[in-house]
Symmetry: C2
Subunit: 267 residues, 2 copies
DNA sequence: TTTGTCGGTTCATTATTTGAACCGATGTAT
DNA sequence: ATACATCGGTTCAAATAATGAACCGACAAA
């Protein structure tokens, strides 16, 4: 692990629920030496990745991240494009929908929207990383994205989240194959109890999967018919997102989706 | 300069007009050794600050920046709040308006909006850093923000941008005092020729200036009356932004602005 | 007064970064 | 067909920067 990696890993300790962190707390969270952490924090503050509250002395994420994110958004307008379609999806099916993109450790959500106010509701933290092996978004990404993602996982121990989480490589491979065969990924309480989800990939111009659209619902509302309906909805949205991004869906998947849709409509 | 600073400085070479950069180009831009740059790029890619195009091999800003910016926005909703008021300002006065926040090297714009389509127009690059000494936003920040900003500048050589740029500390101090006295900053072609601007600060809960709202216009459309009208408009917007952020305007400035406004209205 | 904790600094030791030389692939003038 | 240039990427001994135990002053509670 290089110095750069170590310094930047500090940023991962921030989240919506933990927006401010002090020096000692950083030391505890990261396990690095206090002096080292302090130097990291100074560097990160200098370039604007962090800023320090002058009275409480604690650190929070800095404004530079926002300006860089702007440039990123201008470069790759995935968020903007995905957002409008995810919103439409959430509105139409009245369930939580989200779009996510792969990061090193899992899927990072770029946009989500709650589906109205129904009885139970799926909680969602946008800064949370959805692990590849335990979420439908992750499985979809593994199934349709670059195979390097799956290879990276092979050397890691897969964390258990619920009693349904698959933690061995063999069953993970089965899940991925299943997703590949059916054209979408399904997960039943593998990350959080009482939450089911369905996910499909969307693609860039080189027909590479670059992210996923997913629908999450309390498992009490999930059944086979719902699952199929959700998959169809997600596929439709993925087509729109892919299209708006100037991307292309691989023919094999296009065919699979078309078949699935006609089968569901027939039923 | 630490390794961290050097690695992260690479990110500054990206902008809306330069969204993709290759290894050799990075070497040229940064002056670092090729091997070193490559290690930096690998580290930055690993954590998602960059991503590499698998075919062209060039690098662009990565998705992690977006997710971190999200958390930042949730922590400090300056952008969201400023955006709506800046948009309203641009619409009402039909000129370019922007909100900016201080960074190490100058003011970084968090939001801007063009003011309709009139004859000439001010070009604006959101990823550009507005130098403290040569823009109204910068002067406003120096005049009303923490005095440490001005102190930092004292050791640096001030860059010349136009023939109107003040590059010596003495005239800079005069400009800052002027802004402090009048309650707003004015600049006439000190950064770009043919562009004039007016800027006022907005504040946080501890009555510290944390950013500026500015109006920029082609100098052909600027005159004394316009300048006054723009200042009044900017002050009104600053009040709204400050208020929405839960901030407070220092009494001395509140009084100054009130006096100024009544004087203009009387005229 | 003591004790603990906070953020921050110091400097000899240590481990990481550095960069010239190298590689293979691709491109392109001769 | 050949030579030459440029691209991204890698290597490893030498040079340099990162590290962390000990320390400081400020503050707060016991």
């Amino acid at each position: 692990m290089s110095t750069i990696d170590k310094a930047l890993s500090l940023l991962n300790h921030f989240s919506e629920t933990t927006p401010e962190i002090g020096l000692s707390q950083f030391k505890a969270l990261s396990g690095f030496d206090k002096g080292t952490v302090h130097r990291y924090l100074k560097s990160l503050s200098n370039i604007g990745f962090l800023e320090q509250d002058p009275v409480s002395k604690s650190y929070k994420l800095g404004p530079k991240l926002v300006s860089l994110a702007h440039v990123r958004q201008a470069t790759v307008p995935v968020s903007r494009v995905a957002a409008v379609h995810v919103d439409a999806l959430a509105d139409s099916i009245q369930e939580l929908a989200h779009a996510s993109v792969p990061q090193t450790m899992g899927m990072s959500t770029i946009h989500f929207k709650d589906g109205g106010i129904r009885g139970t509701r799926v909680g969602f933290d946008i800064s949370e990383i959805l692990p590849f092996h335990a979420t439908s978004s992750g499985i979809a990404m593994l199934a349709f994205g670059p195979s390097s993602l799956l290879e990276k996982l092979e050397n890691q121990r897969l964390q258990t989240f619920t009693e349904n989480t698959s933690t061995d490589l063999k069953t993970l491979r089965t899940l991925v194959e299943q997703a590949h065969k059916s054209g979408y990924a399904y997960s039943n309480q593998t990350y959080e109890t009482e939450v089911c989800s369905v996910a499909v990939p969307f693609f860039d111009k080189s027909k590479t999967a670059i992210g996923t659209v997913a629908i999450a619902t309390p498992s009490s509302r999930m059944n086979r018919a719902q699952q199929n309906a959700f998959a169809v909805s997600a596929m439709a949205i993925s087509r729109k997102i892919t299209n708006d991004l100037g991307g292309k869906i691989p023919e094999s998947i296009q065919d699979k989706w078309a078949l699935f849709e006609t089968a569901i409509q027939a039923a």
